[in-house]
């Protein structure tokens, strides 16, 4: 019987009664196994409504009636009885900082740059010996392709005994032939889509013959210790002797680590990977290539090169197949790089008739507004508040981060933390929720000021108001007696930091809308990209004025849309042409130069309700 695993689009043959976790593991996907697979931790959650055995006691205990009704099961408890499909939520995967593994590939027909093909081996005795010209002519007469040999290929060829009768496989990257394989060598050819985020990097390993995703790996960007934001890293690269070399080396090392991990998870060798498609903002792109980012140190911040480019992986220091190539998608302009191109590509904004807005609220905050007629884009430089930076108890989206919050009628605070760990801090989505709730409940006025107790109606809420140094603050979570956990609070300064960040995004959106001569109501759909976008509650974002007021149904989280764009380009050549066109077409607006920017930015600081 068949098991289909989403969002990986993976299909496999399974035996009846096999444990779901075993089946998933054999597909190369690692589910969490905190308790060793005995049904105690409840972390291997999957969603599946039919074709599985009856729920066990462990499942009832761990999931509860609400989740069970939604079709949630535990993989270590359920057995497969009929062909079925399951969906694995990101949180159930091993070792992620809530990195978005999904996003979506809408039925792309595989058409990669790397091909595994075959040719019929020789029949003539004179042709049994390995030499290139024979192979070349066989391939040409078979497929009309005129290939050129590479060094690795020639060396492999020289080691082979003879051509056998029947099929012989070969691997080509574009017009270059890179490998020759026996008929019984069933290895596929693989490629990697790499999203080099300023804070977090993700690698998606695909089987290029089927187009399927086989494994994912992710790591925090190691350059963070030399600068949280791109400007600090550029300064380090340009200002410190060997600064560039260092930043380049640690980045490449980490990427090689991800490649190794993804390969291991998929049960392949890293030398079975033949191509890597890369997306990232301009700074990450330049540092990845080891380019001195001098042009990014002053206005107008022109990238050293903007167009898409293919380079040998070896030259960059990336270890895959010796002839492997790196394909970097084109950049837009200034600091806005190929990650934005990836977002447009995967959301199909450039093909849409109706007006669409895509927002990637990461470390930088990029927005694109438009449709097939015209596209305008801007980088909002929102600052690190949405990733926990500059906030007293701010932290990235990892275990123990408060990621959502609500206050009930009795004034009690209900916190939700990532993975259910006790609260140790607050992440971007939690921050937006918290400030939104306090604003909704009348504790923050429209200027963002925390009200004094004599200004607050609801006396149930007084107990949460505290003073920290000489600032008012909200207590969100009380620390423990033994001192393992601290009091978690949100200060007036934290709220001001959020105001700055949200004002930047708000102003960016308003100016792009103005530039196209449109209104907010004209926006048909709003794509929220980036990890933050998937976890933020749209109502909270609208409440605080981060997103414009619009129907909730118009807002669509799209996960790691930049990464999805890279995956599309990896699996289909057609998408590369699209990506080039997108990069050419996007009109980049320098927000700070817009005459209305300052006024709108300051307006955007207030809370609308």
């Amino acid at each position: 019987m068949k098991l289909t695993i989403q969002p990986f689009n993976k299909e496999l043959e399974v035996q009846k009664n096999v444990l779901l976790s075993t089946a998933v593991s054999s597909a190369g996907i690692n589910l969490r196994k905190d308790c060793g697979g005995i049904g105690k931790c409840g972390k291997c959650k999957v969603i599946c409504r039919k074709g599985l055995s009856q729920k066990t006691l462990s499942e009832s205990k761990n999931l509860g009636p609400e989740k069970l009704r939604k079709g949630m099961r535990l993989a270590c408890q359920a057995r497969i009885l009929k062909s079925t499909q399951i969906f694995i939520p990101p949180a159930s995967l091993e070792g992620e900082i809530r990195i978005l593994v999904d996003g979506f590939l809408k039925g792309i027909k595989p058409n990669p740059f790397v091909l595994k093909r075959s040719f019929k081996a020789p029949i003539q005795p004179s042709e049994k010996e390995m030499h290139w010209e024979v192979i070349q002519s066989k391939i040409e007469s078979d497929s009309k392709r005129r290939l050129t040999p590479t060094l690795s290929f020639l060396r492999t060829l020289s080691e082979r005994e003879s051509l056998k009768d029947g099929k012989t496989f070969y691997v080509s990257i574009g017009q270059k032939i890179v490998d020759i394989r026996e008929a019984d060598d069933h290895r596929s050819v693989f490629g990697l889509a790499l999203d080099i985020g300023t804070t977090t990097m993700v690698a998606y390993l695909h089987d290029l013959s089927s187009g399927d995703l086989v494994s994912v790996s992710s790591l925090p960007n190691p350059q963070s210790r030399y600068g949280e934001d791109v400007v600090a890293r550029i300064q380090y690269a340009v200002g410190h002797p060997n600064g560039l070399k260092l930043l380049h080396r640690i980045l490449i090392d980490a990427i090689n680590e991800m490649i190794q991990e993804a390969s291991q998870r998929a049960g392949i060798s890293r030398e079975d990977v033949f191509e890597i498609c890369v997306v990232g903002n301009t700074t990450m792109h330049h540092l990845f290539l080891g380019l001195r980012p001098k042009t990014l140190t002053h206005f107008p911040y022109t990238p050293l090169l903007r167009m898409a480019i293919a380079l040998p992986a070896k030259g960059v220091g990336i270890w895959i197949h010796p002839e492997g190539q790196i394909y970097l998608l084109p950049l837009v302009a200034g600091f806005m790089g190929s990650d934005t191109v990836g977002v447009v590509l995967s959301t199909r904004l450039h093909k849409s008739k109706r007006l669409k807005l895509a927002i990637d609220i990461g470390t930088n905050g990029e927005i694109v507004l438009g449709n097939h007629d015209r596209m305008v884009a801007a980088s909002c430089a929102a600052g690190p508040a949405f990733e926990g930076g500059q906030i007293r108890f701010g932290m990235p989206g990892s275990k123990g981060a408060i990621d959502s919050l609500s206050i009930d009628e009795k004034g009690k605070i209900h916190l939700h933390t990532i993975d259910g760990y006790p609260a140790i801090g607050i992440c971007g989505s939690g921050l937006v929720d918290a400030v939104s709730e306090w604003n909704r409940k009348g504790l923050i006025d429209s200027s963002g000021r925390i009200l004094r107790s004599n200004e607050i109606d609801n006396r149930n809420l007084f107990r949460h108001l505290i003073k920290v140094q000489d600032q008012p603050a909200f207590l969100l979570s009380k620390g423990t007696q033994k001192g393992f956990l601290r009091n978690i609070y949100l200060t007036q300064k934290d709220i001001r930091e959020l105001q700055l960040a949200k004002a930047a995004i708000w102003a960016g959106i308003q100016i792009l809308v103005k530039t196209l001569g449109k209104e907010i109501q004209d926006i048909d759909e709003l794509f929220l990209a980036g990890a933050f976008g998937n976890y933020i509650r749209p109502e909270s974002a609208i409440q605080i004025g981060l997103l414009p007021s619009m129907k909730k149904s118009k807002i669509r989280p799209v996960g790691n849309a930049a990464g999805t764009g890279a995956r599309m380009v990896l699996t289909s050549l057609k998408e590369r042409i699209e990506a080039d066109q997108i990069a050419q077409k996007i009109e980049y607006i320098e927000l700070a130069k817009h005459p209305d920017f300052q006024k709108i930015f300051i307006e955007g600081m207030s809370f609308p309700f």
């Binding site: 206005f299 000021r449 007036q492 300052q598």
Partner: protein, 214 residues
Amino acid sequence: MNLLRQLECAIIKGNVKRATAITEACLAEGRPPSLIIEQGILKAMDAVGKKWKTYEYFIPNVLVSAMATKLCLDILYHSFKNPGSQFLAKVVAGTVQGDIHDIGKNIVVMFMEAAGFKVIDLGVDVPPEIFIKTIKKEKADILLLSCLYTVTMHAMEDTIIALKKAGIKGKMKTLIGGAPITQEFADSIGADGFGADALEGVQKAKEWFRAEKK
């Protein structure tokens, strides 16, 4: 509450209409402009400064208070006997070359004007030569430099070097500020003063020139 206290409150609240109306009323009652500035306006700016430091006030609040101040000062300056004499000093201000951010600089400029300085604001992305030309033409006492990016900080150093080359650095004061600026950086490039925020900058400027006035 007497009129001057009322003026102080109106400015703190950013109530432009009320502040200007009270200012006219004070003048009509015969109060000297310098007294109105000292007791009404400067007190208000101090209070706003305190609220800014504790984050009780934020950029929009400060801007409306500064706007109220500016308009009141405009009214008062018209009634000075020697126009120009009421200024503590002349300031040339701008954001350095390569940098196009100006919200912070605009706030400082407003506060400086409120404190009694005459400010010539050159805007953003200003090359050293333009600063020098204007300083010479206006016979300015203070050069105020601002930048927001770490990558444009070197332009501050370039500007100060240009001042030295033009032989005017010793004849005036240089005051710098902006998000990435620190005291160490200010010392390293030879700036006379540094302000961690707009209010500290104005404080520094007042320290230099109030004494001289007296």
